[in-house]
Amino acid sequence: MTTLTATTSTTTITGDTTGTLVFNVGSGPTTALTLNTDQTATFTSPLVSTGTNPHNIAAGTLKTSPTAGDVEYDGGVFYATPTTGQRAVVQTLAQGISASTYNGPINTTYVKLVNSGTNGALYVVAGYIYLFEVVLVSTVNGGGTNSRTPQFVLVNSAVSGAATLTFSPFVMNSTLYPAATINVAPYWNVNQQQAYSQGSPTGGASGNANFTTASVSSVNTLAMYGRGIFQVSTSGYFSPAYALTNTVSVAYQNRPGTFFTVTPLGYSASTSLTIGSWA
């Protein structure tokens, strides 16, 4: 590679035949490259082949005192500092969003929440603390007046190698609508807001990390909104899903726009996580 190295006596350019250009510093400085004021850098890198890295920041140690404009990466999450001392996490969302209607549950068998991947299972990484957000909108397509109890489950065994998670208390909000009155006031039927806390669910069937709505007859539409935090102790797949507590005559229909997202907030051995300047 061709190397531009600032030395103690002269600026050297060392050429070779590998075609890579490298900036080196001499002893002392830690900044390899500085662009003069009012000058810009343009990174035009339309990388076209799988397996080729785009721009990359090597993992490093966070500055003791971050200053405005800093962008950092510690091997866990990316950080940006908008004002001096106010370092914050750059959110990198993993998200699954259903683009079309597909069959939801008809009985106690769990069905994936979002239509991403074959099993709707998302890989999560040990050590991370994640913020999750879920919106589920599902309807019964047609008749069926059996009483039913939708049950939302955060982990199941749809994919081998299930993750081990610990959830902080979180809130799910659900709303159920009678078919005859959807979009016609009164448009509420049952609303339930429920805090949930359970440690280390490992996947499986009911009885794990689940949230259960009230049982309502003649339900037409189920809507759920939830937001919370969990920590991963064993890497693996995380399969948000839901089922019914009893069999009904017509399967639920998951609607487009249903989504599940997670954002890694930090990388910590404990559930304590502090980002920003708190006192």
Binding site: T34, N53, G69
Partner: protein, 274 residues
Amino acid sequence: MSTIAAGTTSSAALVLTPDTTGAAVLATNGSTTALTITAGQATSFAKNVSLPAGTASAAPFTIGSMTQVPQASGDFGAYGETSSAFQACPATSFGNGVIPPLRIYRTTANSATTNWTSGIVYSIFGVSCNIDVATYMIELFVNYVKSGTTNTFSGLGSTTFVNNGTSVCTFSGISESFVGAGTSGVSLNAVTYSATVSGATLTSPGTYLIYNPTSVADWQGLGYLRGVITCTTAGTFVPSIRAGGSIFSPDSVYLRTGSYITLRRGAFTSGTWA
């Protein structure tokens, strides 16, 4: 520091000014672009890089769109083929993560008061933005206050969220409405799915934002909406409400400060799904 500068003649394309500080600086001779990484080449930041302040005509650095999503820890870039979203990879097994490109409009003062007529569409913020054919995550919080207690009203329960711009969009998701009446206060939710929220002449209900428990003289409505908007025809996006009831003179309604809307482009699959 040592400076590597562009020269002024073809015979002196580079001017090297060494010193003893051990740091290297790139300098141009008139150009505002000091460094360009050629297309098809990657950049690796293993040490610190200091970029200049942006100006009115130039950002500190610009990243071209890529066709390869970030896939190894530390990767970042603008993946532009289908989503035009910035992405980054916090851990290789995590896969690509979307950096939420938020657009937000938030009020910083109460709006002017107005009257509402049932069925008429009113712009919530009095602003519009251009959106193109893509999918967006949307979050909307509104706080309406009825000013005056002379007249009661009814029917606000069918007040809906619509887009009164030229773009055509479909909303999927959930909305919630909370209303306080006097000191008692009630809390209720509303929802719809796949409701078309385009056009002032919308004939079918969109997404309910406000619930009206009864005819009351003193009223404040809080509406929250969260979901996905799919834009099928590019144009202006004007977040608006279609009044489900009337509030008439001498009473009026205004939007309280702190109300906001966010749009985040790039509602596609990211991460590692199986």
